[in-house]
């Protein structure tokens, strides 16, 4: 364990009128994108005071491990903290924990004041919204029973971990990344896990059918009970009516569970943007430079609806990306914007998900694909799907196949192509068949 040094917080107002000192940039959301924005601004020479404000009672931390290494007890909280207290202090960045902003008043020049639930006011010269998204709530009878949990933030993960000692059977509702990661973690800890997916296939929103099928087979082989097209009627209470004891399906069956983990996607936190009158449509709508519709506020990361950043994507195509990589790259774009520079989104979007011994890496975006090529090396346990649009490669899902992932990521970055016909043989090394133009 590292010594725990807490960062400075504005627990009490700096001034008698209940307001903090005016900050150069107020970043609302001490998230991956909020942290990156602050760090990138300092790297660019932005020298005004920065306030990084979050509503959780934790120092800024990384979320990805919560459903994996942290849940499994392989890393602890100190391992997921972004930066030391010294780093923030040395860089003139004030980190505020446990403060929820309820309302913002803004002038046309971009300055304004944010009003916290605590009563403290935060005056700012510029505003950044890195407020992320929240877990979508399940809408069936019984969700208020004890034992029904979500997994989005550190408190969720700590609560979940504290419950596991009493759990023999768990149901995971939702066969997306979070659901399958958590299901794999719970299964590795000796819990019998059933995954209930509403749709006809796993991870339907992020990967194509071939990858869904691969994961379905692979997880069933590893011991998860997975049911697709599952229709949930209600969560069944225990005899005393307080805790959950199972999940009732439309076909009449009840899957027993002392824990029900819901992972059915997220909803972007757009309330502050709406209150400010910013354009909102599946997230806060921003231009190529991360600027919201008022032309001064930047919105970054999971909450932002951005122009498709993949090189060569059609004009006007938009997407909201929920990923670490996007939080980082989009924050860099916003940092440039805040210092008056116009820089395009750099790099190729990529994603990862670790589920048991299955390491999935995704390069690119599958939006608009019209052809796939599957590379499956069963003996070595490697599986990749390459996605094409009008004959050009645009993305790849790679399971335990880092060479394929790296090759496709590099090809996309260089504007090269990988001919579909030549890629089908899994023994072909992809980077050797890349073609220019």
């Amino acid at each position: 364990m590292n010594p725990v040094t807490d960062v400075s917080t504005i627990a009490s107002p700096d001034r008698p009128d209940g307001s903090a000192n005016r900050t150069g940039l107020l970043i609302i959301g001490a998230s991956q994108s909020g942290v990156q924005l602050a760090v990138s601004l300092r790297a660019l020479g932005f020298d005004e005071h920065i306030t990084l404000l979050g509503d959780e009672d934790h120092r800024p931390y990384q979320r990805p491990a919560l459903s994996k290494e942290f849940l499994q007890g392989k890393v602890d909280k100190e391992n997921v903290i972004f930066r030391s207290a010294d780093y923030w202090n040395e860089h003139n960045i004030t980190v505020v924990k446990g403060e929820r902003i309820e309302r913002i008043e803004k002038a046309p020049d971009g300055s304004g004041t944010a009003f916290a639930a605590s009563g403290t006011q935060y005056p700012f010269s510029r505003l950044a919204l890195t407020v992320g998204a929240r877990a979508r709530r399940l809408d069936v009878p019984g969700t208020d029973l004890d034992g029904v949990v979500y997994l989005r933030n550190a408190d969720d993960a700590l609560d979940l971990k504290a419950r596991l000692g009493k759990v023999r059977e768990a149901v995971v509702i939702g066969g997306g990344f979070i659901g399958l990661e958590a299901a794999s973690s719970l299964h590795s800890m000796g819990i019998a896990v059933t995954v209930l997916e509403y749709g006809p296939r796993l991870v339907g929103r992020a990967v194509g059918e071939e990858t869904s099928d691969f994961f379905l087979q692979a997880h069933r082989k590893r011991g998860l009970d997975i049911r697709v097209d599952a229709r949930i009627v209600r969560l069944v209470p225990s005899a005393d009516g307080r805790s959950v004891k199972g999940v009732e399906l439309q076909n009449g069956g009840v899957v027993p569970a002392q824990l029900v983990l819901v992972g059915i996607g997220v909803v972007p936190n757009t309330e502050l943007a709406e209150q400010l009158g910013l354009d909102v449509d599946n997230g806060i709508v921003v231009d190529r430079y991360a600027l919201a519709s008022d032309g001064t506020t930047v919105a970054v990361g999971d909450v932002a609806n951005i122009p498709n950043p993949l090189p060569g994507a059609p004009d006007g195509e938009r997407i909201r990306l929920e990923s670490v990589n996007n939080a980082i790259e989009h924050a860099k774009v916003a940092a440039y914007s805040l210092v008056g520079r116009r820089e395009d989104y750099a790099g190729i979007p990529w994603f990862w998900s670790n589920q048991a011994d299955l390491k999935l890496q995704i390069a690119g975006l599958t939006l608009g694909y019209d052809q796939t090529v599957v590379r499956h090396d069963e003996q070595r346990g490697k599986f990749s799907v390459l996605y094409y649009r009008d004959g050009r490669i645009i993305a790849a899902d790679c399971v335990n196949a880092p060479l394929d992932f790296m090759a496709v990521k590099n090809v996309l970055a260089k504007g090269q192509n990988i001919p579909a016909e030549a890629a089908a043989d899994p023994s072909t090394v992809l980077k050797t068949i890349a073609t220019d133009g």
Binding site: E69, N79, R83, Y87, W352, N400, P402, M406
Partner: protein
């Protein structure tokens, strides 16, 4: 306490006191050492924490597994004999480690 000496591509050196059990990557990132990005936070998915380990120290480290080996073929600056992913290098008490960061990670 273990000590890590980070030399960047321009030759300037930063000395960081680390904690036993932490990785070289965590030590660098938490203290804001430029030159190590570590997008994936240490889950061996991104190859943006690539470092070169000074010769004397290379042999003292735990050997790399297949996944790290394959990931090193995708680094932004080409791998060399002494390349490692710093998320896989755990610090031990009393250890000194000298590493060089590449010019770029992405």
């Amino acid at each position: 306490m273990p000590t890590v000496y980070f030399t960047d591509a321009d030759g300037s050196v930063r000395q960081i006191e680390g904690h036993a059990g932490d990785s070289v990557m965590e030590t660098a990132v938490r203290n804001g050492v430029p030159g190590i990005v570590a997008e994936c936070g240490g889950s061996l998915s991104c190859a943006t924490c690539h470092v070169f380990v000074a010769g004397d120290w290379l042999g003292a480290l735990a050997p790399m597994d297949d996944m790290e080996d394959e990931m090193l073929y995708g680094t932004a600056v080409d791998r060399q004999e002494n390349s490692r992913l710093s998320c896989q290098l755990k610090l031990c008490d009393g250890q000194d480690l000298h590493i060089t960061t590449p010019e770029t990670q992405v």
